[in-house]
């Protein structure tokens, strides 16, 4: 197991390298520059700007410098947000996005697993059809439609929550964004739990558990749940990758100052250091998270043996 972990950790470095290179190449290949605004700059000013940001050097020098800096976790300063280092921006935006994402996924786990388990236990009943229909709705309504609809209902009509505001994790302002983001995951997790539980409940070892005289509740909680939730665990890996793109949209809809918002703006502003910084961060986060998921999978299923 330890060798497996080390191998996966080591792989992060070349992956990061690839990601950064691709992103950097895309930024460099694109027409226009970060300073292309409405005004046309005079040649002199432009030359000074390029000098200041080291853009006059040959590309491979710049590339090498980039890699060298990144190795020391120095992502440079933002080109659009005057004077702020990328690290500072990351530090500021991360808590927002993380709070949003984690809350959303926790909601999705709790609600989804509960829904899926009840649906499986009462197969073909109204609870089953109802929750699966609800799950289907969750998959079908895009988050950029659901978000505004929730705002329409709960903010602008009922005045329960603020429409587009961020007061921190512990405030009411997290409720609507987190719900919006979690909807599709509630749906997927409910469906996965239901099918996973249905499969497990048909197993021979569940029959053995019943033959031993255990109550249905004991059978489900002690025997069925662990195996039945395995698909949800595997799902969590790729789910994170999609959660990130979901966060981008939700932050835009609710005007939250998170990494997603910064990222989109950086893309439109051609803010190269910020783009690379955020992409690199996301890449590392995804890789680490996937590793954690795989490790926990091995803990849950004792038959898995990593070499």
């Amino acid at each position: 197991m330890l060798r497996f972990i080390i191998r996966r950790v080591v792989v992060i470095v070349p992956m990061l390298f690839i990601v950064v290179t691709i992103t950097w190449a895309l930024v460099r290949l694109s027409p226009g520059n970060f300073y292309t605004g409405e005004k046309k700059l005079t040649p002199a000013v432009e030359r000074n700007l390029r000098e200041k940001y080291g853009l006059n050097q040959p590309w491979h020098t710049q590339y090498r410098k980039l890699l060298w800096n990144i190795a020391r976790f120095d992502f440079g300063t933002s080109l659009k947000y005057e004077g702020q280092s990328v690290n500072q921006i990351l530090w500021r935006g991360l808590p927002v996005s993380a709070a949003l994402g984690i809350t959303a996924y926790l909601i999705a786990l709790i609600v989804g697993i509960a829904m899926g388990t009840f649906a499986a236990l009462r197969q073909n009943s109204w609870i089953d059809y109802g929750s699966m229909a609800l799950a289907m709705l969750g998959i079908s309504i895009p988050n950029f439609v659901l978000g505004p609809l929730l705002v329409l209902l709960f903010s602008l009509t009922l005045f329960w929550f603020p429409p587009a505001l961020w007061n921190g994790f512990a405030s009411r302002s997290i409720v609507l964004p987190a719900l919006t983001l979690s909807a599709i995951y509630i749906a997927y997790i409910a469906r996965l739990t239901r099918s996973g539980m249905l499969e497990v409940l048909r197993s021979d070892y569940i029959r053995t558990a019943r033959a031993k005289g255990l109550s249905e509740r004991q059978v489900v909680m002690r025997h069925a749940l662990r195996g039945g939730l395995l698909p949800v665990v595997s799902f969590s890996g790729p789910a994170l990758a999609f959660l990130i793109t979901g966060t981008v949209v939700v932050e835009k809809v609710f005007a939250l100052p998170g990494l997603g918002n910064y990222f989109i703006n950086a893309c439109f502003n051609r803010d190269e250091p910020l783009i690379i910084g955020i992409v690199a961060f996301i890449a590392i986060a995804v890789l680490v998270f996937n590793l954690l998921v795989d490790i926990s999978y091995a803990f849950i299923d004792p038959r898995i043996r990593y070499t």
Binding site: V145, P148, S203, V248, V249, V286, I304
Partner: protein, 340 residues
């Protein structure tokens, strides 16, 4: 999110669901009850029959066809009858801006704008239908791109096997763990194509490039299990060349899971296009898609909610029904793979 096959329960191969342990009682019974052997052609007929028995899937198919037809034929019909198109701005704009559904300029009842108008006075129904055209087209073509790439890649890897297969699947693993969509966002944001047609083409490829990975895995898995079966040996014995074997023999037999996955990819790609357009990266003005319409509508949500609700709900309905059809297809085709 069709990249994730919901029934994947081990880490490596997203196979379609292989049967659960039957209770012995059911096994006793079912062995006796099912005596027939399913032959090649009746497989599809069986699947079709099973699909038709699934009322939800049938309902889904009907709605999908209806919406698709409206999207294809609608804009032309509307243009003929009322003269509205997705970007026709009426002469007297002030009168017609942001009219609620079924109302005229002075608040009276009117059939002219069943979905109201947007802030520039354009008829929303026409825009929704045109947007549907684009959204559907993008979804279908992008799915096609992802199919072509994924199936070829997976089939080649699966058939060649050995180190080539290892390497090719390694690449897939690497790509799978990259924050792919993020890079696509960067690409679309920074390299906008010049003409609207080029824009669309770029979108097809960008979206197709994101979703081919799981398709490749599925196809490879199928090929691997089919590879050593007899008809392949027979083909090789008669001297059929390798590319021919892959494309003429193996691929048709791997078709089942491919069809299911492709049907599930369509709504996923549609959703991706929508949120890219929402962010301003996908379909751009003057063209419209459901995503870009939603973006516009979201801006004026408080005052003119119908501008978001109609495109949003139309899209949700379409995705809803597509997902039902996809699920129904999976249920219909899966019994051959011994599902519950």
């Amino acid at each position: 999110m069709a990249d994730y096959d919901e029934h994947k329960s081990n880490l490596n191969e997203p196979e379609l669901h292989v049967g659960p342990e039957y209770a012995v009682a059911e096994r006793d019974v079912s062995e006796v009850v099912t005596g027939e052997i399913v032959t090649g052609s009746s497989l599809w007929r069986d699947a079709w029959r099973r699909l038709l028995r699934n009322k939800l899937a049938v309902f889904g198919m009907v709605v999908v066809v209806l919406i698709a037809l409206s999207a294809v034929a609608g804009p032309a019909i509307i243009k003929q009858t009322t003269g509205f198109t997705y970007d026709s701005i009426p002469k007297d704009t002030r009168l017609l801006r942001s009219i609620p559904p079924f109302r005229g300029p002075n608040g009276e009842f009117s059939w002219k704008h069943p979905m109201g108008t947007d802030i520039a006075g354009r008829d929303i129904l026409a825009r929704v239908l045109s947007g549907g055209q684009i959204s559907l087209m993008v979804a279908l073509i992008a799915t096609l791109v992802s199919l072509v790439i994924g199936v070829s890649y997976g089939a080649i890897a699966g058939y060649l096997g050995g180190r080539v297969d290892d390497l090719m699947m390694r690449v897939v693993d690497v790509l799978y763990s990259l924050p792919y969509v993020i890079i696509v966002i960067v690409l679309l944001a920074l390299l906008p194509a010049k003409t609207p047609t080029a824009q669309l083409a770029q979108l097809f490829f960008a979206l197709g490039a994101v979703s081919w990975l799981t398709m490749a895995r599925i196809v490879r898995g199928q090929i691997l299990s089919l590879k050593n079966q007899e008809f392949v040996l027979a083909a090789r014995a008669t001297g059929v060349s390798t590319p021919k074997i892959i494309f003429r023999h193996l691929i048709p037999n791997a078709l089942g899971p491919v069809i299911v996955y492709a049907t599930l990819t369509i709504p996923s790609v549609m959703l991706s296009e929508a949120f890219l357009s929402f962010l301003g990266l996908g379909v751009r003005p003057p063209r419209v898609s459901w995503g870009s319409l939603a973006a516009e509508g979201a801006q004026n949500l408080a005052v003119y909610p119908w501008q978001l609700i109609f495109p949003g709900l139309t899209m949700a309905l379409m995705l809803f029904c597509l997902n039902f059809v996809g699920d129904g297809l999976r249920d219909a085709l899966d019994p051959q793979m011994r599902r519950d």
